[in-house]
Symmetry: C4
Subunit: 258 residues, 4 copies
Amino acid sequence: MEDVLIRVVEKVELKDPILVEGLPGVGNVGKLAADYLKEKLGAKPLATIFSKFFPPQVYVSEEGLIRLVSNDLAYRKAQRAGERDLLILGGDYQGITPEGQYELTHRVLEFCAGLGVREVFTLAGFAQGHVVEHPRVLGAATSAARVEAMKKFGVVFSRDDPGGGLIGASGLFLGLGRTFEMEGVCLMGETSGYFVDPRSAEAVLKVLTQALGVRVDFTDLESKAREIDRIAQKIHEAEQKPSEMPREQSREDLGYIG
Amino acid sequence: MEDVLIRVVEKVELKDPILVEGLPGVGNVGKLAADYLKEKLGAKPLATIFSKFFPPQVYVSEEGLIRLVSNDLAYRKAQRAGERDLLILGGDYQGITPEGQYELTHRVLEFCAGLGVREVFTLAGFAQGHVVEHPRVLGAATSAARVEAMKKFGVVFSRDDPGGGLIGASGLFLGLGRTFEMEGVCLMGETSGYFVDPRSAEAVLKVLTQALGVRVDFTDLESKAREIDRIAQKIHEAEQKPSEMPREQSREDLGYIG
Amino acid sequence: MEDVLIRVVEKVELKDPILVEGLPGVGNVGKLAADYLKEKLGAKPLATIFSKFFPPQVYVSEEGLIRLVSNDLAYRKAQRAGERDLLILGGDYQGITPEGQYELTHRVLEFCAGLGVREVFTLAGFAQGHVVEHPRVLGAATSAARVEAMKKFGVVFSRDDPGGGLIGASGLFLGLGRTFEMEGVCLMGETSGYFVDPRSAEAVLKVLTQALGVRVDFTDLESKAREIDRIAQKIHEAEQKPSEMPREQSREDLGYIG
Amino acid sequence: MEDVLIRVVEKVELKDPILVEGLPGVGNVGKLAADYLKEKLGAKPLATIFSKFFPPQVYVSEEGLIRLVSNDLAYRKAQRAGERDLLILGGDYQGITPEGQYELTHRVLEFCAGLGVREVFTLAGFAQGHVVEHPRVLGAATSAARVEAMKKFGVVFSRDDPGGGLIGASGLFLGLGRTFEMEGVCLMGETSGYFVDPRSAEAVLKVLTQALGVRVDFTDLESKAREIDRIAQKIHEAEQKPSEMPREQSREDLGYIG
């Protein structure tokens, strides 16, 4: 089989589109943000991506229907002056081997280059190892001009973070994107790294939507964040009085299947 | 070498055949069911499948003859009204890497598509983690129509199971089958997950034979199930009086080489 | 690079040659036997085999010269009536991944088929888990005729051994050899599995040389076996009086770099 | 994507150039030496090498700019009689799988062969497992003539070291280099193997620069070595009085990110 199989759902002509990538990762921040953006902007399916670099797995819906694990590209055309056509990449998994990461990223970039993409935003979480009440958004970019542009939206370019660089799709889409003459920015929401973090995703999206010039209602994401807070609070209380509550069970509610 | 090498044993023309897949897995339910069906229907060898995605291993028969590990396709032509031509896939192993799973499944589906297959049944076990006296058959399918059709045969489409989806050949044959325009159903027999389970295989086969409109005598499978029961009972007793019986040894009789 | 790179050292015409395979493995029995046969028959280099399926390693000789790890084919022409032309495959490693095992074996078989090989002997050790004073030679073959032929040389075809089949090159050369219309026999010398075992290699070679109709002087192999015996004996004594001898150090003398 | 992607930065004509390889490894000796040589000789970028055999990672500079992990070739033209054109290979990683090591090395050698390279020096560390005050430079080579030539520069060709051969790029560039008709030498600086070792790199470079007939100022490398000595000394003192100093923290200063 083809290593990466891209099935086009709808053929569309896009005008100088921007690619937004948000795949599962630290705190699921990137995926939460991309999925929320897709939903709120009403982006439509453009292509489904299957690959032998994903696990050999299908999901089963509540109705008993199977779906092969995939990544997915959705598009949303500009709807008024100041907006740009958007491509949003989300999905179930990143490639599960280093080679798979490269092959997948390269193939998707190649496909997006064919659609006219020359600019990329990648979304991710940045694990701080402790609870972060007010997550900052850290940045990395392909050019000094983009660094300066992003600072205006409050993005922090820190001398120390991320020290060891970025591992995974969010870095690779920028790094390999350079070989396709694409420019781009990675936005990393600070997060504990211990559970799925809608608050960090919101921080990232607030920067992104400003940069893209689109408006999004954050109510649903905020209520998701409060829900996580409540569960975390319960766990905290339970840890004070361990005998009164089934701790393991409620911990699961914080799991990455947000 | 070719990644997947399909050696045709007999060239046959089949009419709208149904593919039944049953490879080793949880409780060996799928393999037991497919092998039993093949034997009782007198299916004949159609092709042998070798691959670098299997272990580098040969089996040696009691007569000292070697046989390279493989998967195998057998066929059985419809013998009366209401029946369909069948292809039955069994074998020694699933692919031993995720990439190998994809490559093998894709290549076999491609070959079967060339034989006219547009419909697939996959057989598997579903591990419940405890002994199941009366195993239900859980289902997953590629379309709502098939879900409804299977419910009539008593297949359970549960909201909760399988929660995390299906991993391995039984899911992948359906998921990748969609890219070949194939429709299908996965039948999962409940099982403990601790030993080879002919009773669960029988439950699966009872649904499958109804769906296929073929008749099969279950006597041999039932006696195999009783044999496993007896061994399990002995182990249980031995665990009550640990000193009287070599426990480890009899546990081996429940091993996956059923 | 080519996955498997075969560098021909000398172009020779062989007449219906037999391939003898002996690569590192259990007790190094196969490698010891093949190397000894090559030396005693004065076989000459025919081809060197490099591959990315070997470790990325060079050996350094006492003179400081590097040599990339490889497998090697040597040949020896029949020298009198009753003999056959021989190809002997030895080397530093088997393929280090399952896929590598398949690719290497297939490529070497393809090359040997081009040289006219239709018959293969593979040499290996069979680990018994305890010291074997008088190692038997167990067998496995591709046809009943060959089983019978080998029994005449004292080869044991046991109902129980090898129970789980053969893993690695010695099995694969026969299993994949079938896809090249080659017939063959695997000769397995019983060994403890704990150290390099020239005595087991001798038992294997005695059968092989009879089957091939060649004569070999076993003196050197026997003295190597006695040397191993002496070291094993010393270790045994040391284990009785642990304080008198540096046990770890002498154990190294039994290591697989025989 | 191409397995190994070589992006040429500047097209240059070189005359019978010598390749010097120094990638990360034991004590980072090879990388330290190659990077220092590149800097002091003012070598210029010739090509950047990306590959799916590297980790899927980007580094982020203090200015917030990303850079995909890579290997890099720099060149330096001969500047007076007795010198030769040089190619220097450095980078962030060796290939992270055995197969990747082979593919990367082969592709880079192929590229360098196209630039006229017929001679290779590889630089590495040799772990002794204890602190080495005055590191010797051990050698391995592709021909007896080169062994003799290197002995004149004080290189030690020891009967015992390296006993098990060389694993990784420094050996492979010589081993695979033979298949490109290249000759070469590996220079290994003795080092403890516990931390990054500029002193060992200096020892290696002193031999190499003599062999190449180039002059290099070692002041900066020596001050780096003294800095490492100071840190090591502090750790040693701290280990005498464990309570007075945060040991773990200062140990980090010896890390391989030299």
